[in-house]
């Protein structure tokens, strides 16, 4: 079985997550060896996944945790007095 570029794109996400079966993975790997376009699509997609996951990108608002626990303290006290 020879797979084309479109077929590779359909499985990019599963490929990144290690969810494609062994036979398909081998086909994709073989395709990637000779296809610069798909290889760049895979690299850039994986790169985007890594970048957005960096904790500097999505941070909790400053003081979020302090405010949450202060509110919880008030609630726990209230629950205790009832």
């Amino acid at each position: 079985m020879r797979i084309d570029c479109k077929h590779v794109w359909e499985h990019i996400s599963g490929y990144i997550d290690g969810e494609v079966d062994q036979a398909l993975r081998a086909e994709i790997d073989r395709h990637l060896e000779t296809c610069e376009i798909c290889s760049a699509v895979l690299d850039s997609t994986r790169n985007v996944v890594v970048l957005v996951a960096d904790e500097r990108v999505f941070e909790l608002p400053t003081g979020f945790s302090e405010r949450l626990h202060a509110r919880l303290d008030r609630e726990l006290e209230l629950a205790g007095s009832s």
Binding site: K6, W9, E10, I12, S13, G14, I16, E19, E36, I37, A40, V41, D43, S44, T45, N47, V48, V49, V50, L51, V52, A53, D54, R56, V57, F58, L60, P61, F64, S65, R67, L68, H69, R71, L72, E75, L76, A79, G80
Partner: protein
């Protein structure tokens, strides 16, 4: 993300229910980020997401005795967060998340990636530039809600497929399909804008494998 620890959680819950209320702080702390980002994804407003996150934590506390332990604690917490968020959306009637879900999910869109050849990888060090973080955040925030939720939980909070499906009330298959589409949309949207952050090529085909 902090990995869940069922034994610690079960012990904590037992002791909290027996009266050691202060332990609730430690129990909820590892879930804070996921609660907030799930709610931010639903509500798209930082102030409201924070308020809803606080209400969620309180509801978790008040309903702790109802946790059966047949799902992960964090999954249960996130389903409470999701209900809180959807309840607020319904009340505000500003958005119809559920019907929107169905519409977008039915579409068989074109998820062709950006066929770039000019760059391969932006190194993590580039995130020291505020501008790059802004571009990435805006791209995720610009995704349709059903895709944004999945990216936030799977890629940003690093939750597994099963937990994400349970927290969002969708099938594992939907999680995978949505994540795939979301990543394709992000790649297509970001490819032209990330180019400037990638290391410069050494020659015309400098990054090609020799």
């Amino acid at each position: 993300m902090t990995a869940s620890n069922p034994e610690f959680e079960a012990d904590c819950i037992r002791r909290i229910l027996a009266g050691e209320k202060q332990l609730f702080h430690s129990l909820i702390r590892p879930c804070e980020r996921a609660i907030y980002f799930l709610l931010l994804s639903l509500l798209r407003n930082e102030v409201e997401a924070e308020d809803a996150a606080q209400d969620t934590a309180i509801k978790v506390y008040l309903n702790l005795s109802n946790f059966r332990g047949d799902s992960q604690f964090r999954t249960w917490v996130l389903s409470i967060a999701r209900n809180e968020g959807l309840g607020r959306l319904r009340k505000a009637a500003s958005r119809r998340e559920d019907s929107l879900d169905a519409q977008i999910d039915e579409q068989t869109g074109d998820y062709t990636p950006a066929l770039l050849t000019s760059w391969r990888e932006v190194p993590l060090e580039a995130l020291e530039r505020q501008e790059l973080g802004d571009i990435l955040r805006k791209a995720v925030e610009g995704l349709p809600p059903i895709y944004r939720n999945v990216v936030l939980l799977r890629d940003i909070e690093q939750m597994d497929v099963r937990e994400t499906a349970a927290a969002l009330g969708i099938t594992e298959g939907s999680v995978k399909v949505r994540l795939h589409r979301a990543r394709a949309m992000l790649q297509r949207d970001l490819a032209p804008r990330l180019e400037g952050f990638a290391p410069k090529r050494t020659g015309m085909f400098g990054w090609l494998k020799s």
